[in-house]
């Protein structure tokens, strides 16, 4: 897609500009009660080997049976990615030996995946719109986990994950910066979460990415790529790409060539290192799994799922922009997480001004949530409380400054904002007599400044500050301004 190099993304070097080309393979654990081909449970955090069926342990004579729930989730995800749904797909065996792979092969989809081409749209912070092509989505089994720290001499194997359904979502090499790659993963995760097809929890390994990176001169043919395996956080994806692109540029500029290889990202050093070269790559000997029939379903099955799809982030964003004239990027950030969008919508429903509510949620509320580093839904200030604060600001009951203090108060100690305003006497003072009295006091006490302000009207702000301080921030700032100008005989600026 994005064939024309955008200057902002280029890496400048003494030998000229370089462009990075990034494609991702995201492994997303399907949200389902049981595994892809067995009835065993999938919950995270169970005791080792507590969720293993005879099939998952590859006991002799055991056979896989497809779990319909996983198929439904894959199709719904495909629809969410605006992708082609293949009514017939085939499961293949990918053969290799590893202790956490009990069958000696992984059941995956090779030549005929369940979902074909689709697209994910990204709105970048600088206003750039990026479209990332989806090549395919296929279903496959997860492997178990080797535990190397339980015994000095042997390794142990936990098969709880063995056979859990994964969706491998393969993008086109359409990304040109680490920011775009991060935005892509965030957007993908957002879509998956809206759909409820993957919880997107990267710490628990529900979402992980293999990152393909290559570099080229702008407009040149694609360079040789390296694949960085299993990167499991948004931050690491960014770091891995930045490191890898620069590593490749350095090699090429030194007259070397890039070896196509698989690499690992080390979060401690922020570097990538070689895992295996192309020559060492496995021959997986893919062939159709004879234990499973081709996976077939009807168009009406797909249509029914499409009809029941929830509103997805892009649709929500379009609606927010159309109905409430929100800015592109604001809307994008609001809808990125469903809880956030719902929170905002609740405020609007309760009567908050949409634009003010959007600003408030994105700046004040989200700012605090991020500062505290907690989950959005755990924030102690409810949409009702924030709506009340905004309404009181809007009708002049409290000042903007007090609004922020009030928000922090509710965050820390809870309580009803309206009652707090009453109890603590936070109401904005809009009684001109009261304000005049204070102004008179300030003028009387500061003759030097009065002289100064006559010569330099811009120092009026100092008086405003004094008055506000004496009223505990409660005075209506506009009124203070007007009255001060009148008393000090300074013209409206």
């Amino acid at each position: 897609m994005a064939d024309d190099a955008v200057p902002a993304h280029l890496i400048n070097s003494s030998t000229g500009d370089w462009e990075m080309v990034i494609g991702l393979e995201v492994h997303a654990q399907v949200t389902s009660k049981s595994k892809l081909f067995s009835g065993a449970a999938t919950e995270f955090g169970a005791k080792p080997n507590a969720q293993v069926s005879l099939v998952d342990a590859a006991m002799p004579g055991m056979l896989p049976v497809i779990n319909e729930e996983c198929v439904t989730q894959a199709v719904r995800t495909g629809l969410g990615l605006k992708a082609k749904i293949n009514l017939r797909s085939v499961f293949d065996r990918k053969n290799y030996f590893y202790p956490d792979l009990p069958q000696g092969y992984q059941i995956s989809q090779f030549t005929q995946p369940i979902v074909g081409e689709g697209e994910v749209a990204l709105d970048m912070e600088d206003g750039e719109e990026v479209r990332v092509g989806i090549e395919r989505l296929h279903l496959e089994q997860d492997a178990g986990k080797s535990l190397h720290d339980q015994d000095p001499k042997s390794s142990y194997v936990d098969l709880n994950r063995s056979g859990v359904a994964l969706m491998e979502i393969v993008s086109r090499p359409d990304m040109r910066s680490s920011e775009q790659a991060q935005a892509y993963v965030l957007k993908l995760r957002s879509i998956l979460r809206y759909l409820g097809t993957c919880d997107g929890n990267m710490e628990e390994g529900s979402l992980r990415a293999d990152v393909n990176v290559s570099v080229r001169r702008p407009g040149a043919e694609l360079g040789t790529r390296c694949e960085i395996k299993n990167v499991n956080s948004i931050r690491f994806i960014g770091q891995a790409i930045e490191y890898e692109a620069r590593r490749q540029i350095e090699i090429i500029e030194d007259g070397g060539a890039i070896d196509q290889e698989t690499r690992l990202f080390d979060p401690r050093t922020g570097e990538t290192r070689s895992m295996r070269s192309k020559e060492e790559a496995h021959d997986y000997r893919y062939f159709p799994d004879p234990d499973l029939l081709p996976l077939e379903f009807s168009q009406s099955f797909v249509d029914d799922l499409a009809a029941q799809l929830p509103e997805l982030p892009d649709q929500k964003k379009a609606r927010f922009m159309a109905d409430w004239e929100l800015e592109h990027y604001d809307a994008e950030v609001l809808v990125a997480e469903k809880e956030r969008a719902d929170y905002f919508e609740e405020m609007v429903t309760l009567g908050a001004d949409p634009k003010a509510a959007a600003n408030w949620v994105l700046n004040t509320h989200l700012g605090r949530v991020n500062k505290e580093d907690i989950d959005f839904e755990k924030a102690p200030v409810s949409a009702q409380a924030n709506t009340a604060i905004l309404k009181m600001t809007d009708d002049g009951t409290i000042s903007g400054k007090i609004a922020k203090d009030l928000y922090d108060l509710v965050w820390e100690s809870g309580g009803d904002p309206e009652k707090l305003v009453e109890e603590r006497g936070l109401k904005q003072v809009s009684d001109s007599g009261e304000i005049e009295k204070i102004i008179d006091e300030v003028i009387a006490a500061n003759p030097k400044q009065v002289e100064q302000v006559k010569a330099k009207p811009q120092t009026l702000g100092w008086f405003v500050g004094q008055v506000m301080q004496k009223t505990g921030g409660k005075a209506n700032p506009q009124m203070v301004n007007q009255l001060l100008r009148a008393k000090l005989e300074i013209a409206e600026s």
Partner: protein, 494 residues
């Protein structure tokens, strides 16, 4: 009490109902026979007499209450490929040493639900790979039949050699078996027994140690066509645990036995008349044709043009699937483990020690044909051949109801006679492999004796899920061939 080990399943069913003997007495008679014979025949690798007596007593209780199942009290042998709960199951491989499944295969569970009694686990070729039962870790099985005037031990065929030998020698009344390329029909032919390979998908594969998943099918080995029908009725059925099992009702197979074949069209496939085929096989085939004609059937010459490609294609598809199916035997979770310096070393040592030569050969062939660069030339091409073979049969079954052919290119051979030459061994399945490649049901029925005085079988192949046709026509052959002379009992210790 008449000798219960001499009876067929159908006769025993009546005798039990008439209380001529109890299921326990019946089981005990067979247990004693196994004790006397097994040293010579090596058919059972694990007799389970206590298990058998427990099950038989439970059968007697059910008979007393009037709740007898279709196979109530019938003593069966179980090929060691079938997982049996709490009873060692090894597929006759060293690599599954000591493996005791916590589950029964669907087929064996169906048999127990019908009241059958397990006498023990039967010998077979390792992982069902072989045509002579010489590849078993537990040693070869001996055919109760001998060449006239000779004491030389003969093979019972394979891979279900233990099943065939045990049924032929009256150590059990029927046995489970599996057929991937002829492993039921070929040993049936070599031991004078009735061996049925049902349609692919008719019996569940769940709990049967897999050899080649797209070809494996369980079936019965018995001493009569009627017994075959009775046993299949209990074994068959849809199983949600096997995605390739087919959800189609199980008919009353026994009702097909004895039905007239007047007016049926029997296809005689010309490609089965191989160059250099022994005259006695030709003669046997001719007898079959005559018998069916006399019974009112019409013979039709038909062509299955791709028959000659079936065996080579089979020896690509089956090893390919096997190489992957056998990957799970890695020493990590069950069976044999030979310790090594690291995980790779452990894998290599375990698999080197655990698999026999024939299994290793097929794993290597299978790995090779699936490898990058060879996959299209071998595996994909073999699958195309398979499609053509299927189409051959579809075309032919537009015109005829059933096909008649020999089961094997020759009679039982001596131990060691062919084990040095894999290709010659593989050729034993030349007539049986096409039914596996096309998923169609086939049956081998004793048709007569070879010049050496050993049995020869005739094979019938029918449309998918038309096992009734096999029983109907098979019974006519059985009647016409008459009772074969039984081999002199040289194997029982007194």
């Amino acid at each position: 009490m008449s000798e219960p080990t001499r009876l067929t399943i159908a006769e025993t069913r009546d005798a039990l109902a008439e209380k001529k003997f109890s299921a326990e007495e019946l089981a005990q008679a067979h247990i004693s026979e196994i004790e006397r014979a097994n040293e010579a025949l090596n058919a059972f690798i694990l007799p389970t007499p206590e298990h058998a007596l427990d099950m038989a007593r439970a059968s007697d209780a059910r008979i007393a209450k009037g709740g007898a199942g279709a196979l109530e009290g019938i003593p069966l042998g179980i090929k060691d490929l079938f997982c049996t709960k709490g009873v060692r199951t090894t597929a006759c491989s060293h690599i599954l040493d000591g493996f005791e499944p916590g589950y029964d295969s669907t087929v064996t569970q169906n048999l127990w639900d019908a009241g059958a009694v397990m006498l023990g686990k039967l010998n077979c070729d390792e992982f069902a790979m072989g045509s002579s039962n010489e590849s078993s870790y537990y040693g070869p099985v001996i055919n109760p039949w001998r060449r006239a005037g000779s004491d030389a031990p003969l093979v019972p065929g394979g891979s279900s050699g233990g099943s065939a030998s045990a049924v032929a020698a009256h150590l059990c009344q029927g046995a489970t078996a599996t057929d991937t390329g002829g492993s039921i029909r070929q040993p049936a032919s070599l031991t004078g027994t009735v061996g049925l390979k049902p349609t692919y998908g008719r019996c569940s594969r769940w709990g049967i140690v897999a050899f080649a998943s797209s070809l494996d099918q369980a079936g019965p080995l018995t001493r009569s066509v009627r017994d075959s029908a009775i046993m299949l009725g209990a074994m068959a059925g849809h199983d949600p645990k096997d995605s390739t099992s087919v959800d189609t009702p199980v008919p009353d197979y026994e009702a097909a036995v004895g039905q007239s074949i007047r007016g049926l069209k029997v296809g005689i496939p010309r490609e089965y008349r191989m160059e250099g085929m022994p005259e006695e096989i030709e003669a046997l085939w001719k007898s079959g044709i005559d018998w069916l004609k006399s019974a009112g059937a019409e013979m039709v010459d038909v062509s299955l043009p791709h028959t000659k490609y079936a065996l080579p294609a089979y020896y690509i598809v089956a090893p390919a699937e096997a190489s992957s199916n056998l990957a799970r035997y890695d020493g990590v979770r069950y069976g044999l483990r030979v310790d090594g310096d690291d995980i790779i070393d452990m894998y290599e040592k375990t698999r080197a020690a655990g698999f026999g030569a024939e299994v290793k050969r097929r794993v290597l062939i299978g790995t090779y044909v699936l490898s990058a660069g060879y996959y299209d030339a071998y595996y994909i091409k073999a699958q195309r051949v398979r499609t053509l073979i299927k189409r051959d049969f579809e075309d032919v079954f537009e015109k005829v109801d059933v096909l008649l052919a020999p089961s094997t290119p020759g009679p039982a051979f001596a131990i060691g006679e062919k084990s040095g030459d894999p290709i010659e061994m593989y050729l034993n399945d030349i007539f049986t492999v096409p039914a596996n490649m096309s998923g169609l049901p086939g049956i081998s029925i004793p048709g007569g004796l070879s010049g050496e005085g050993t049995p020869l079988g005739l094979q019938l192949i029918a449309k998918a899920f038309d096992e009734e046709m096999l029983f109907r026509v098979g019974h006519v052959i059985e009647e016409a061939a008459g009772e074969l002379p039984t081999p002199d009992n040289w194997w029982s210790k007194s």
